[in-house]
């Protein structure tokens, strides 16, 4: 298997049936994602970023084209492609521990003992520094903590691909920065392949190896792909002064606000 083409998206088109007729969301999507690569999908609201992520997750099927993961067609959702949802989507009647355990049990339940499953759950919560909140319900913890439980649930399944839909969008700037740093560490440790939807330019440059910039919808497609060749590990404080970082940032801002800046007129 070619490691550069771990995920392959070929000629994908997505059209939704709505009350007003057919709505073309995506067209002509061509993208390859390498194993261990961190890819950010960026674009204005309504450009189909989340639609593309849902296609990779297998939650929706494309109208045309094919998506492959490890050379196999993506035919539906599965625990090998874990999703961190925008609104965390924890089950409110389960404790944080049980929310994480649910996924672990599904993936490892047939091969491992209860004690091993529990140890995995503890380790996952420890990784996001939430061991103290294990027995709390989602309603009893803050938004940032909920999002960390969501990340722990996804990572604990040891997925081949981690799909994140604006995971930090609803958080304040300080919490977001802290979770971004944690995510950088975790991804460095686990070597996971990550696809993250974001609308935050700094987040995209700081975290990614590759930034996929999307044109405005309807019928959005990939406008440009930017390779981010900043050395890892990355530090947000050092990068703030880096000319290279600024040039990447400028490139994304140029794309979003100069070439695709007419989103209000189009709407």
């Amino acid at each position: 298997m070619n490691a550069d083409k771990f995920i392959q998206i070929q000629n994908v088109e997505q059209t939704f049936k709505t009350a007003k007729g057919l709505f073309p969301a995506l067209r002509d999507i061509q993208l390859n994602i390498a194993k261990g690569e961190f890819v950010a999908l960026i674009g204005h609201s309504g450009c189909g970023k989340s639609t593309l992520l849902n296609l990779i997750a297998g939650l929706t099927m494309p109208t045309h084209g094919v998506l492959l993961c490890a050379n196999r067609e993506i035919a539906g959702p599965g625990p090998d492609r874990a999703v961190v949802f925008q609104n965390h989507s924890l089950l409110p009647w389960l404790s944080c521990f049980d929310n994480v355990y649910l996924g672990i049990e599904r993936v490892f339940g047939k091969t491992e003992s209860k004690a091993q499953l529990r140890a995995r759950t503890d380790a996952a919560l420890d990784m996001v520094s939430l061991s103290h909140a294990a027995q709390k319900r989602p309603g009893e913890i803050s938004g940032g903590m909920k999002q960390r439980v969501g990340i722990a649930r996804a990572l604990a399944m040891e997925p081949k691909v981690l799909l994140m839909d604006e995971p930090f969008g609803a958080l304040d700037a300080l919490t977001r920065a802290k979770l971004q740093d944690e995510l950088l560490e975790i991804v460095a440790k686990t070597q996971a392949t990550v696809v993250m939807v974001t609308h935050d330019v700094d987040e995209a440059v700081l975290l990614s190896d590759k930034i996929v910039m999307m044109t405005n919808g309807p019928a959005a497609t990939i406008g440009e792909v930017l390779q981010v060749n900043l050395p890892r590990p990355r530090s947000r404080v050092e990068l703030a002064d880096s000319a290279q970082y600024q040039s990447y940032r400028k490139a994304v801002i140029d794309f979003l606000y100069t070439r695709q800046g007419h989103v209000e007129k189009a709407a």
Binding site: P77, A82, P92, G139
Partner: protein
């Protein structure tokens, strides 16, 4: 403890006391203007002490204590309601889960739901050939609708996010039903149960007036035939009190099983 600390206590206690006082005043006024054909609160109170001092006496089939009457009515409600829950809640689940079944049954439910439960009583008498099963049948038919409808609505409103979690984790149908569907639907279901019990308790009084036997509704009718108005008023308070206790208990159960929404 300072005087100010008592303010919330009095603000909580005094308004209901004033409410009851107003009710008793109006009652007394009505009693005076009707020259005693409606008995006064004082007389009724004395009679109530008499009635409640021996609630479980038995002097033949048509003369039993108020306690037996209430228990008999509660038993009928429990039977009819229990059967309705047994049928209605699973029916609500499948109607909510499958669009075809929902389209199939919704017109029937819309047609039958507005019918007064008492209209079903003759059918019950005819089919079951007995007053007691007919009364239970009437309770069954009136308490099934809120449970079917609320359960179905609950199933249809399970947030898509939870179902997406289930799909990504690839959970089995059984796991989806027990860890996602059931807890998500439970608050809706309990609302249905509460509405059903409320309606059942309303209907049992009327049904028993028609069917006779032992029961709080029959007791009201019997005391009307005896022209014992004091006992009728006592019965009204008993019916209200029992209904209040049922409602309160179910609200407590419902709040214990309601969790914050996914969006917050």
């Amino acid at each position: 403890m300072g005087t100010n600390d008592w303010r919330p206590f009095w603000l909580a206690v005094l308004p209901p006391v004033f409410g009851f006082a107003l009710l008793v005043c109006i009652w007394a006024l009505v009693s005076i203007t009707t020259r005693g054909s409606i008995p006064s609160p004082w007389e009724t109170g004395l009679q109530a002490i008499d009635v409640f001092s021996d609630p479980f006496y038995r002097k033949g089939p048509n003369d039993q204590g108020v306690g037996w009457n209430v228990l008999m009515s509660l038993e009928r409600v429990a039977m009819g309601f229990g059967l309705a829950a047994l049928v209605g809640i699973p029916a609500g689940f499948v109607i909510g889960r499958f669009t075809f079944l929902s389209r199939m049954f919704n017109p029937l439910i819309s047609l039958l739901r507005p019918v007064s439960p008492l209209a079903w009583l003759p059918i019950g008498l005819l089919v079951f050939k007995g007053a007691n099963p007919a009364a239970i049948w009437t309770i069954f038919i009136c308490s099934i609708w809120p449970m079917v409808i609320n359960t179905a609505v609950g199933v249809q409103r399970v947030p898509q996010d939870y179902m997406n979690v289930a799909r990504v984790l690839n959970l089995s149908e059984w796991k989806i039903a027990t860890t996602i569907l059931f807890p998500a639907v439970l608050p809706y279901m309990l609302t249905g149960v509460r509405l059903a019990v409320g309606t059942a308790w309303l209907v049992i009084v009327a049904a028993e007036m028609l069917t006779g036997g032992v029961g709080i509704g029959f007791w009201v009718w019997d005391e009307w035939n005896n022209l014992n108005v004091k006992n009728i008023i006592i019965a009204i308070f008993v019916i209200g009190g029992v209904g209040l206790i049922l409602e309160y208990a179910l609200i407590r159960i419902a709040t214990a099983f309601t969790y914050e929404d996914v969006a917050s």
